[in-house]
């Protein structure tokens, strides 16, 4: 009888030693009140918020810091207008182009391809189809239009305004212009703006 009890104890002990680890549940903590924040944490769940969600939409009629209003409509007319008259408030510099290229690789290249030929990995794997090349003859791709499409999206492409800010979208747009030029075998946007600036400075003194 005694041995039976001993065996029982041994089984219970060994079972409790191996069975405690459960990867579906967080581990317990030593004095949790040192770990858990007193304030409301990002993405936390608290009764005070609607739907218990700390993450909420911005209050209506407010803008985030550094926000620049964009006055063109999300419509075909808006796109045409942006193509015709919208100019980048940022200068085309090597630094901006480098940042744009980096961001392009993150956000655009999966579909549009590293070269802008519309053959990104999602296209070659047939997840997305029919992505046009930037050099496509039927399309009028200009800086303002790119910015407009990045902001609002177009057809099957969604808006990227939540992932990038205004300046970043302009930087990406510059890089897209560069890609378009290199696909067509034309000089890049940096050279063309420099050339324009030169001709402007030549004509100005007169």
């Amino acid at each position: 009888m005694k041995t039976l009890i001993n065996i029982g104890i041994a089984i219970i002990v060994s079972a409790s030693m191996v069975s405690c680890f459960n990867d579906k549940k967080p581990n317990y903590q030593y004095f949790p009140n040192m770990y858990e924040p007193v304030g409301y944490e990002t993405y936390g769940e608290y009764d005070i918020f609607p739907g218990q969600q700390e993450a909420m939409m911005p209050v209506e009629n407010t803008v985030p810091r550094g926000f620049v209003p964009y006055e063109y409509d999300d419509s075909t007319e808006g796109l045409e207008l942006a193509k015709a008259e919208l100019q980048s408030p940022y200068e085309v510099t090597e630094e901006n182009l480098a940042t744009g290229a980096h961001l392009y690789t993150i956000y655009c290249a999966v579909c549009h391809g590293d070269k802008g030929d519309g053959k990104g990995i999602l296209v070659t794997r047939e997840k997305f189809l029919g992505i046009p090349s930037y050099a496509d003859a039927g399309r009028n791709i200009v800086l303002g239009g790119i910015y407009h499409v990045e902001t609002y999206g177009l057809n099957a492409m969604g808006s990227y305004a939540s992932q990038t800010n205004e300046k970043e979208r302009w930087q990406i747009a510059m890089h897209v212009m560069d890609l378009k030029a290199s696909l067509k075998g034309e000089p890049g946007i940096l050279e063309t703006t420099k050339a324009e600036a030169n001709t402007a400075s030549e004509t100005e003194p007169k």
């Binding site: 549940k25 903590q29 990002t42 690789t105 993150i106 990995i121 992505i131 039927g138 399309r139 099957a156």
Partner: protein, 427 residues
């Protein structure tokens, strides 16, 4: 060369396909190469049109039966021109589709358009029902690999238990038989011998050695036990929507920053809001056949995408938002205690640390789990070992130079820049 190979292989494929199609549908007399049409369709039309589902534009299966062929040619080449010319049918369709402009395709020849129309007129491929069903059933039954494992172990344990009971019963029976036969157990020796524990207690040296060993082993286990309190390494909770990092970041090579866009410039890496999912999943309402694995079937994944649609309030049928949303309660995995400060942008953008350094090979994780222990010792050891990239940082050039001189090293670690001062993370 590669392009040539590709076209070559598609033409081979296309011939089979075309032959099959012509057998299936001899009525498809419009004439036109189905396979050439398919590649043209995928290159030009598929961005907005699907064959059997409404996407940005209407579904196009059998569109050639609905409209006059010449009219379709005009429409595809320049739909806006046709609308402007006052064509009643064109205007009607334009109105019906919320005045969505279809770009002109002047580059497509008449033959190309015929090919595309031949492709859209191709009868819908019947799903290989029995095979697919069997595969689905197989996928479902193997869906819970963990459960079947547990079952096997349980059965083994049960068998083991039965064996023990049987052994016990057998000895009892044998004993009884022996007693019946007159064999008497004698416990004669027992009286004379000293019980072993008494002998042990009397041997003081043995007691001392034993207690020292006991203390050492005990404290070793106690230490290990206490050090894992509050450490969540390997924590892999069940999420409300089964999101596979393996499919997104691994197979499809989507950059981590694509969805976790705030890691570049904010303290938290950001749980992507559902609009980011919808940027792609507006178009992708079901996974491809080859995405399904043995553990997770295609039906399972499609169901998870349906959960996303439900949460974000997307009516896939009519391609519009219903406005009825419900929050997704993602379970947070990586969580630092309140008394430690950590900033993602500082590590991602400033230091250029790869996400995988701390989060492991997320691109291979079907179920996300915590890779690093996230303990203070883990932070410190990285800060002591990692060199800081000092290039292109003229503003601090002088201080970096002086620090290098002070420590007598060429490359500075983060610790040498003050990265292990208490106040850097605890305040």
């Amino acid at each position: 060369m590669l392009v040539f190979l590709l076209t070559f292989s598609t033409t081979i494929y296309s011939q089979d396909e075309a032959a099959a199609a012509s057998q299936e549908a001899p009525a498809d007399a419009a004439g036109g190469d189905v396979a050439a049409g398919e590649s043209l369709f995928k290159a030009n039309c598929a961005a907005c049109h699907k064959l059997d589902k409404k996407a940005v534009g209407p579904a196009l299966r059998n569109v050639a039966d609905l409209f006059d062929k010449d009219w379709l040619h005009k429409w595809i080449k320049n739909s806006q021109g046709l609308i402007a010319s006052g064509d009643a049918q064109a205007n009607k369709i334009f109105e019906e589709n919320n005045k969505m402009i279809m770009p002109p395709f002047p580059g497509l020849s008449d033959e190309d358009i015929d090919n595309i129309l031949a492709y859209t007129s191709k009868p819908k491929a019947e799903p290989k029902a029995p095979v697919a069903d069997a595969a689905a059933a197989g996928g479902a039954s193997t869906g819970g690999g963990g459960v079947s494992n547990g079952l096997v172990l349980g059965a083994l344990a049960l068998i083991f238990l039965l064996l023990v009971i049987m052994l016990y019963l057998v000895t009892n029976t044998l004993k009884r038989i022996a007693e019946a036969n007159g064999v008497v157990y004698e416990k004669e020796e027992k009286e004379k011998r000293l019980p072993i524990w008494k002998a042990f207690v009397q041997n003081q040296f043995l007691v001392m050695v034993f207690s020292i060993v006991l203390i050492l082993v005990g404290s070793y286990f106690a230490y290990g036990y206490m050090m894992q309190v509050g450490v969540d390494q390997g924590y892999a909770p069940v999420q409300p929507i089964h999101y596979s990092h393996k499919i997104h970041a691994g197979d499809n090579q989507i950059d981590c920053n694509f969805c976790h866009s705030s890691a570049r410039k904010s303290k938290t890496s950001g749980i992507p809001s559902l609009n980011v999912c919808m940027n792609c999943h507006k178009n992708i309402s079901e996974v491809a056949e080859d995405t399904a694995t043995e553990e997770y079937s295609k039906e399972f994944y499609d169901g998870e995408i349906a959960k996303l649609y439900k949460a974000v309030g997307w009516d896939a049928e009519n391609q519009e938002y219903t406005g009825k949303t419900e929050p997704v309660k993602w379970v947070r995995i990586h969580n630092l205690p309140d008394f430690a400060y950590f900033n993602h942008s500082q590590h991602v953008t400033v230091a250029g640390v790869a996400c995988q350094t701390c989060h492991g090979e997320v691109e291979k994780m079907e179920v996300m789990e915590q890779f690093a222990p996230l303990t203070m010792g883990w932070c410190i050891s990285c800060h002591k070992e990692t060199n800081v990239n000092l290039a292109n940082n003229e503003y601090y050039a002088k201080i970096h130079e002086e620090l290098s001189k002070k420590y007598g090293v060429e490359k500075l670690t983060i610790a040498e820049l003050g990265g292990i001062e208490c106040g850097k993370c605890h305040y």
